[in-house]
Symmetry: C2
Subunit: 152 residues, 2 copies
Amino acid sequence: MTDHDVRLAEAERLAGLLIGIVEQAKADFSETVTALGLSVPLARAIIGLTEPVPMRDLACELRCDRSYITSLADQLEERGLLTRVPGEDRRVKLLALTDAGRAVRDQVAAAVADRHILLRRLTDDERRVLTPLLERLHGDGTPPSAHTGGFC
Amino acid sequence: MTDHDVRLAEAERLAGLLIGIVEQAKADFSETVTALGLSVPLARAIIGLTEPVPMRDLACELRCDRSYITSLADQLEERGLLTRVPGEDRRVKLLALTDAGRAVRDQVAAAVADRHILLRRLTDDERRVLTPLLERLHGDGTPPSAHTGGFC
DNA sequence: TATTGTTATACTCTATAACTATA
DNA sequence: TATAGTTATAGAGTATAACAATA
């Protein structure tokens, strides 16, 4: 094995860990919200609605097309978890959680926090070491569009 | 904000970084292999085929159903990148890259390594600090089935 | 003319169930 | 009876394009 191969193999191993961790976290999230009767995209939408938000803004936050937000909003409205309220600009509709929706969101937030892998598995000190490394990895040599996927 | 909220917010921020990093890495991978004319699942299959492998084993490695491997193998076979060769146990088929397939795999491997975020953005020292933290995060309080998704 | 949300449609990834050939 | 691969089908998630209303 050449030096180059060794470096690559090490990077692959780290990448595997990283991907494994994120997959674990996503699986946790999925299991948690499924137990509460929500799909993952529905739960992500609900969590994004701490206050009434134009559909376009939610699309930006979830990094998806506006048409997909329409479909998510339809489903949540059918379940009585949100309503569309007209904005000042009359093209805009704000998505606002109903009382039932807020109750569900509180449940989801509590359950998700409870199982949070980063709180369960690392000490405060370890998080303090980890944070700057992740910041460097995440770091910004990238154009903004790389973060928004062109949805904002 | 309560103490609890602060801890949760910090964890959410770390989780966001982690997810962002992995999404960036996946986007890099996707862009790289798309430029070489491959979809992500096809590229993952090719990379898994350093040597001839029973379809069931590839399913295990990629953590997907055997029926999906059939479909991936069909596509790669159509393009002349692999062939099915009968195993000793005559129920088994080995997937083996053709010469063209090996050429593509070498290209993919080189291109992926070249853009590897973990090699581009971190020093050796930083990787030495990062590794044990990721190991603890990934760590094994989890049953083996959580890693295989029931496909092995 | 540009933007918001909607509709209709279609694509990708992936699983399930039933099947066959073999063990 | 159990296992390897195949087929047909279906579902989740999500995008694109054309459109109506409003700015």
